[in-house]
């Protein structure tokens, strides 16, 4: 595999992973246009942009645009992230030029038809209502809003009041401000020619307006304003949702890889501490887990579980105990397993072109360059028990942000 990286003349950052013999090619595009960059009067507008981009361009209407993707068998998916909007496409290698051209057309010459904009707002309002039927997603919204401060604590769907005042004008404005070449990062993986890909991208995005000076500043990332607190949100549910978080490492911190291993020890597999102590030994939950959330700057460690109300306090106490005692009795075999999990998962996914492209675009987002897998795995493999202890000492868990959602409050919600 060869990694080719370049900045195109118009400012787009491109990484091409040239992997011979691959039967598919994958295109990943990230645009710094996520919901953290919304005008606060129009929360939810980033998601509306994502939904309406595929509803028509200067050349064709929405159906014709989608049919054009189908004609070459290219999948196309998109998401609204906190800092970026993401566009992802899988196709046979011979159709990559058309796939790039279609993305260029969609992202740089959208027509945002009036009716599509109206429907997008209506559907977002309905999705907000559907969110009430999705306890785990609703809990995420609550913990982010509580723990992250603004603007990182927003939710992609926005709020009812802000959606009701948002329409085509605001959708166009968000697109115009954020869809500049300098705010775009692109990764392509497969049996492809980097120079050809670069030429195709330049041609495809040639009509985008030039970047503003403010783009560079905005792309430096936004800070978490951590708020330790406990809040309970009453809701009629069979299970109580528990979420807690505390500040962790940034993706560019030297101890970022140590954190990855620490999370692996807590929650990497069925022998992880949380699964063992909460589920296997006590039968308190079906689901329990720990993970990190990494904005461009900063990081947060999350722990979550869902359980019936009578088990809530025991579950919570066990979570707190396990997170707290990690530094005290860590064994080498636990450490080895956590490392093995990270290494094997990276190696097995190496067979998957789509996973390669996704990892490359993530690297562009955090580091501005692709870091070879071997380099990352070497850093993971070098983590020691001492590193984990130092990491835990540097990230105290005595100030937590905690949310419960369900019929019952915690008897003793530990907080700031």
């Amino acid at each position: 595999m060869r990694i080719d990286q370049r900045r195109l003349a118009n400012g787009i950052d491109l990484a091409v992973l040239q992997i011979p013999g691959r039967p598919v090619a994958n295109l990943e595009i990230r645009v710094f246009a996520g919901y953290a960059y919304e005008d606060e009067r129009y929360l939810g507008v980033a998601h509306l942009v994502e939904e309406t981009l595929s509803k028509g361009t200067a050349r064709r209407d929405g159906r014709a645009l989608n049919d054009a993707f189908d004609e070459i068998g290219a999948t196309h998916a998109s998401f609204t992230g906190r800092e970026t909007l993401g566009f992802s496409s899988l196709c046979l290698p011979e159709f990559l030029p058309q796939t790039i051209a279609l993305h260029g057309e969609m992202l740089s010459t959208p027509s945002f038809p009036d009716d599509a904009c109206e429907v997008a707002v209506e559907l977002a309002l309905q999705s907000l209502s559907a969110l009430q039927d999705d306890p785990s997603e609703l809990t995420k919204k609550l913990i982010y809003a509580q723990a992250y401060g603004q603007p990182l604590g927003r939710h992609p769907l926005g709020e009812r009041e802000t959606l009701e005042r948002t329409g085509r004008e605001q959708i166009v404005a968000h697109w115009r401000r954020c869809f500049t070449p300098r705010r775009m990062q692109v990764a392509v993986a497969g049996a492809v020619d980097p120079t050809a890909v670069a030429d195709q991208l330049e041609a495809a995005f040639s009509s985008l307006e030039a970047s503003a000076d403010s783009d560079e500043d905005e792309m430096c990332g936004l800070n978490i304003q951590f708020v330790p607190k406990y809040s309970h949100h009453e809701k009629e549910l069979e299970q109580e949702q528990v979420a807690l978080c505390f500040p962790g490492s940034s993706a560019d911190d030297p101890d970022y890889y140590v954190q990855k291993v620490a999370i692996g020890i807590l929650s990497g597999g069925m022998s992880g501490r949380l699964f063992t102590e909460v589920r296997e030994k006590q039968g308190l939950v079906y689901w329990v887990g720990a993970w990190t959330d990494q904005p461009r700057v900063g990081g947060m460690v999350h722990v979550g579980a869902s359980t019936t109300p009578e088990n809530l306090d025991r579950t919570y106490e066990t979570l707190i105990r396990e997170v707290g005692r990690l530094a005290d009795d860590l064994t080498q075999s636990e450490l080895d397993r956590a490392i093995a999990g990270l290494v094997t998962r990276a190696r097995t996914r190496g067979d998957v072109t789509r996973a390669r492209a996704a990892e490359a675009v993530e690297d562009l987002f955090y580091y501005g360059r692709v870091i070879p897998t071997d380099e990352k795995l070497a850093r993971i493999s070098a983590v020691t028990i001492r590193d984990i202890r130092d990491y835990l000492a540097a990230h105290p868990r005595d100030r937590l942000s905690v949310v419960t959602l369900g019929p019952q409050k915690l008897a003793n919600g530990r907080m700031a």
Partner: protein, 414 residues
């Protein structure tokens, strides 16, 4: 495409089927055991036993405690799990090529679980938590309610997870009796894919599984359930939205019209489909679609949507209107091309990783008794035509009353 078959299929003398796909281009290997048993094989008083048993298979053997099972998976860094459906249970692990033997031996040992009593008692709580979790999910509640009503009185009626009552009342002895019958080697398939040497894999399989005793009577009595028409409503106040599902009988997985049935569901309710443009993009429902659910012997096609309670009538009318229009006018050429083109891409993607291939191999072995090369599967979807869709819709109409269920805060239809 290669001209030599990448597949090896063998049967051990005890009846265990082994299927291997050689993938010389990959760095990893995956293996799994398919037990040809699922919720439709649960005895009624043990509803949920297949799924509960799946949990118990991780809970200890003559050689390993549950902790050792978990530790060993994680020592390899395996990507592993298991799932239970209405008609099968599948256990799998995806590892680096050099760990295949260890992964296979671990999974094989798990297939001879001792179902320890203390673990049985503990895991019962976990299954009850899983049931509680599924009841907080409108989609799961609606899916289970459709089966409960439509297939009432048959083994397809209960949820894969079982009922709270049958789980609470279940004994280890009842599970053991079921386990020894249904996990006989002659009811299991070992599936392996990766950069492997088939003779090595067969040797591993023989050593790990060769002494499992064949069982003459598996106690299989699968019957296709009758399909009724009807209407059922479940009022659940705590949900905001209403789920509306409309089901029609369809073909099974081995029927010659199976690919046509799948294509019909995709044209109605997949990506860039009629439902997307004429229901979702009309603001009637944020999520509407169609799926085909198939077993070896029968199937059904389900049109569904989630909506604001006041939109139920509009949603149902729109779904029926789309079904009627497709039946009357047939598919457009471009809709048929979409299905075929996307399948080409997905087959290429599937060929990249052993784990992706594993599920398809298990599916082919279970339903067809043989692995299918990508060329055959592509040919099957290429054979879908306006004529085959017309024939399918003539034999399996989606324009009648069907079976309608609605779950949510509104009592509708009254």
């Amino acid at each position: 495409m290669s001209v030599t078959s990448p597949f090896v299929v063998e049967q051990l003398s005890n009846g265990l089927t082994v299927v291997i796909e050689v993938m010389p281009h990959v760095q990893s290997a995956a293996c799994g055991f398919l037990a040809r048993t699922g919720a439709r094989d649960d005895p009624p008083e043990l509803a949920g036993v297949s799924h509960f048993l799946e949990h118990m298979m991780f809970k200890g053997t003559a050689l390993r405690t549950w902790e050792q099972v978990n530790v060993e998976f994680d020592e390899m860094g395996s990507y592993y799990n298991a799932y239970t459906s209405k008609d099968r249970t599948f256990y799998y692990g995806w590892v680096q090529t050099g760990d295949l033997q260890r992964q296979l031996e671990l999974l094989a040992d798990m297939m001879r679980s001792t179902l320890p009593q203390d673990q049985f008692d503990m895991e019962k709580n976990v299954v009850l938590e899983e049931i509680a979790m599924s009841r907080d999910d409108l989609g799961s509640v609606a899916y289970d309610y459709l089966h409960e009503q439509l297939y009432a009185g048959t083994p397809l009626a209960w949820p894969v997870l079982g009922w709270e009552r049958t789980i609470k009342d279940m004994t280890r002895e009842g599970m053991w009796e079921y386990f020894t019958r249904r996990y006989a080697p002659n009811n299991l398939i070992l599936v392996v894919a990766g950069n492997v040497e088939p003779t090595d894999v067969l040797r591993m399989a023989q050593r790990a599984c060769g002494d499992w005793p064949h069982v003459d009577s598996l106690g299989t009595d699968r019957r296709s359930p009758p399909f009724r028409t009807g209407v059922a409503t479940q009022q659940v106040d705590r949900f905001r939205q209403q789920a509306v599902l409309l089901a029609f009988p369809s073909v099974g997985a081995t029927d010659s019209l199976y690919e046509t049935a799948e294509a019909t569901a995709a044209i109605l309710g997949g990506e860039n489909s009629r439902f997307y443009w004429n229901i979702v993009q009309k603001g009637i429902s944020p999520r509407a679609g169609a799926f085909h659910e198939e077993y070896q012997d029968f199937g059904m096609i389900v049109l569904f949507g989630l909506c604001e309670p006041e939109n139920c009538e509009k949603l149902l009318d729109a779904m029926r209107e789309e079904a009627a229009r497709l039946a009357a006018d047939g598919p457009q050429e471009k809709e048929l091309r979409r299905v075929k083109n996307l399948r080409r891409t997905s087959l290429a993607n599937e060929s990249e990783a052993p784990f992706y291939r594993l599920g398809q191999l298990a599916d082919d072995m279970d339903y067809r008794g043989r692995p299918r090369p990508a060329e055959d599967r592509l040919a099957a979807v290429d054979a879908v035509s306006a004529e085959s869709v017309a024939e399918y819709l003539r034999r399996w109409p989606i324009t009648g009353p069907g079976y309608l269920v609605s779950v949510g805060p509104r009592v509708w239809p009254a």
